[in-house]
Amino acid sequence: MIDRQIAEALQASGVELVVSLPCAMLSGILDEVDGLTIRRIPVCREEEGIGIAAGAALAGKNAVLIMQNSGLGNSLNALASLTCFYQLPLFLLMSHRGGRGEQISAQIPMGLAAPRLLDVVSIEHKPIKSRPDIKQLEFLIRHTYETGTVGAAFLSPELWHAER
């Protein structure tokens, strides 16, 4: 249900292209996106997705990059020297790993660092923790495209707690 709502929020906010890498937390969302009419291009590494999204933006298309927060580390140079430098719109939708209940210890360092890395490159970000936040996500994405800026949201594991 949460996965479907997030996919529908992407569609309602005008997303035309999804570029993505997987995460165990994101797998349901990616399946739901594939059930919609939004084109999805899976990429091999996150910064490749930043490049593809920039090309789409240059043709006037609204793109979102779906990835794990760890992928932000692979994307920073591209975000700063391509997306932000040319003032191209892009939304980053990330699963936020490394918090309470995390089973994989290696997720902790980037889980802690990711929000602060976005602060350093002046990209606004919001946590999405509950079902009402998904409506806010829709507005955040739309705002990003309307203002030609870069925005980001971190999907918290608690979002799915009510369902499990």
């Binding site: 035309e16 292209l17 091999c44 910064e47 490749e48 090309g55 240059l58 793109a63 020297s81």
Partner: protein, 183 residues
């Protein structure tokens, strides 16, 4: 054949042209500055990806000028291109076997690495290696109908091309206006 010869051959065509960071941008600007040129001034390695995003988002032909060093930085792009590039996509890799914008330090293609073999191994069906401007022209003109990867063998060497005087926003705005009117 020098990179400049390859770029002049591409620039004769009325396509959207994406140029990689450094001298490829400068040489394209010097050869034929046009609104349909996108000069990617940073983000080394992503010209091929940016061009792919353009090719799937609008119908006009897109030609990307990459280098061996920049493609080696983003090899996954060759797999993504194999699976998702539409017929209006053409990637030209200037294979001069060095990092030409930083002082001609050798890349792995100076040694054992064969980018055409990697591109084919990634699943691309239409990969050709060219060694002269005439072969390049032929490969560029017959690519329509299939996405293409052209590996253009080149000698190292930069032209005396100045730094691009346009700002990133100027480059973007005129490029987007050009795409929007369907060029």
């Amino acid at each position: 054949m020098l990179r400049g010869d390859i770029i002049r051959e591409i620039a004769r065509r009325d396509w959207l042209i994406v140029a990689n960071i450094g001298y490829p941008c400068r040489e394209l600007f010097a050869a034929a500055d046009k609104p349909g040129n996108f000069y990617m001034l940073g983000s080394m390695g992503l010209a091929s990806s940016l061009g792919l995003g353009l090719a799937v988002s609008q119908p006009g032909p897109v030609c990307v000028i990459e280098g061996d060093g920049s493609v080696l930085m983003n090899l996954g792009t060759l797999a993504t291109i194999a699976h998702h590039a539409p017929a209006n996509y053409c990637l030209v890799i200037v294979d001069n076997k060095v990092y030409g914008s930083t002082g001609n330090q050798p890349t792995c293609t100076a040694g054992l690495t064969d980018l055409a073999a990697i591109a084919r191994g990634a699943g691309n069906k239409n990969v050709v290696r060219v060694t002269t401007p005439a072969e390049l022209a032929l490969a560029l003109d017959k690519h329509t109908g299939l996405p293409a990867i052209i590996i253009a063998d080149a000698e190292p060497g930069n032209e005396n091309a100045p730094v691009i005087p346009l700002s990133a926003i100027e480059i973007k705005e005129r490029f987007m206006a050009h795409v929007k009117k369907g060029f």
